[in-house]
């Protein structure tokens, strides 16, 4: 168990393993996310980031290990159950309902967490937070890529989660859009007082946004620390660049 994985964290996982046939995608993973903390999960391709993400959110079931969320053991709970417990996630691909309007996308996100009276207010407020107020009636699939990424976040935050898991939310965005998106994510965290688990390939963004960074390689934790510590960690540099420091 790592120094960070303690029982009063919002999320902690212990000895998490997931096998796909003969391949151990995630092995003996211990990690935690504290309340109001932004944690980055990084690693080279095939490191097990997405599998970890899917295991934590209930999209995949672990082969072994324990997941505790908000004081409850939630190992093996389904994606829908995890969402109802307060863990919302976005998806790297196919992250929105393309044939539905922006309004209806957010409606689906908010439906389980609002009553009829407060639903519309929640939808407008959520759209405003991510800059989609002017696009509510547009078809989601016809939005520019940057706004589609914001919409996938809007669907997740419509539930007002305790932990928001963002799966590569900055993929395909240009520099201006990345800057804008980081500002939105930062303000979401501050206003909604939620924790964020953030999987991303954009190192600069991870270093800028996260309080703590966990580096995965071959399904195991390679390093863990503040962005500054990770930036100067020899094993991390070797894992990414393939050369010893």
């Amino acid at each position: 168990m790592s120094q960070h994985a303690h029982t009063n964290s919002l999320l902690y996982v212990e000895g998490l393993k997931r096998k796909f046939g003969g391949v151990m995608a995630v092995s003996d993973l211990d990690m935690s996310v504290s309340t109001n903390e932004i944690v980055g999960l990084i690693g080279p391709n095939g490191a097990g980031k997405s599998t970890t993400f899917n295991l934590i959110s209930g999209h995949l079931q672990p082969t072994e290990g324990r997941i505790v969320f908000d004081g409850k053991t939630v190992t093996g709970k389904s994606l829908a159950r995890m969402s109802r417990l307060g863990l919302a996630r976005t998806f790297q691909h196919e992250s929105l309902l393309k044939d539905l309007s922006v309004y209806d996308n957010i409606l689906v996100g908010a439906l389980r967490f609002t009553n009829r009276k407060e639903r519309e207010g929640r939808i407008f407020e959520t759209a405003m937070r991510v800059g989609l107020s002017e696009h509510l009636l547009e078809r989601a699939g016809s939005l520019p890529h940057g706004l589609q990424r914001m919409l996938s976040i809007a669907i997740a935050i419509a539930a007002r989660p305790k932990l928001l898991c963002l799966d590569e939310p900055l993929t395909g965005l240009n520099a201006t859009e990345v800057k804008n998106a980081l500002g939105i994510i930062r303000s979401l965290q501050a206003e909604m007082k939620c924790s964020i688990l953030f999987v991303e390939h954009n190192m600069r963004a991870v270093m800028e946004l996260c309080d703590r960074v966990i580096v995965l390689a071959s399904g195991r934790i390679l390093a863990e620390g503040t962005p500054a510590e990770i930036g100067s960690n020899a094993s991390v540099i070797e894992a990414y660049l393939g050369v010893p420091s």
């Binding site: 829908a80 969402s83 044939d99 539905l100 922006v102 309004y103 689906v108 669907i155």
Partner: protein
Amino acid sequence: MSQSNFNRILLLGTLIAIGYSFFAGEAYSTQLLIWCSANVLLATSMRFMMLVGEFNMATVMFYGIGAYVSGYLTTRYSAPFATTLLAAGSIACVIGIAFGYVSLRIKGAYFMIISFAFAEVARLLATQISWLGGNSGIVGIFPPAWIEAWFPAVTIGLVVVLCTILKLVEDSSSGKVFAAIRNNDAIVQAAGISVLNMKVVCLALSAFVTGVGGALYAYSNNVISPADFTFMASVMALAAVKLGGENDFRGPILGAVLLTLIGQYVLRFGALDQLFYGGAILVAMLALPGGLMGVLQRWRVLLPVSQPGIRASGIKRAVKP
């Protein structure tokens, strides 16, 4: 033509059909109106399941269940007309829930195959159950004498009510979730909604409506047998949806009425009439994307109200193109 004018024409057609049924008495054309109505329910139910992205080939099973429940209750217990209709819909609905929890854990082509298998097994079971009349089925299913003159009008009225209920559900928040499931069920799960439960709700509603449709069919035909409920009825429903257009609620209504009427003409070709429904699906898919409703909108005969799924509930503003 605007959408509201088109709806007015549909309503006028329905009222004319009801009025005509009073004057025509027991003519063949009245019988045809009832068959059209029952097929509208079958096709509308088929499309309702397509809202969650599934082709339910067991639609005919629920139609048969409804017909057998009403037939059995009427001939065996002389149960009141309304009771038999309600029982037909309710029992189809309950069986739909059980069937849904078993079969809707899989989706797409796998669900289509399993639903087809269930329907065939149910039909073969009916041929073996003696108290359901075996291969001969049930004979002598008549509506009560006091309603006989009104029966076609009652049938059309019931179809309008049931179709309206399905339309209201489609436009509600649940309808949005159905459309969302068809789009991307992982996102619906991630929003804390059980996809399986919602699909079962959709199937249960569809089964209720189909069950009532089956009961109306039994009363109009007076005789039912397992041979009436082969998978061809599901194929006809699918053909009606594809021909009329699945993106519009009125599509299957248009498709079912047209196919029922043309179907009577092709009966004269004997066994070859079976080719007709398959042909209708092929023509609709190759030449009429969006079905007849899609064609009406493309030719601007009918002004488009919105693209599929773009309706946003609760906002009274013009929809951006």
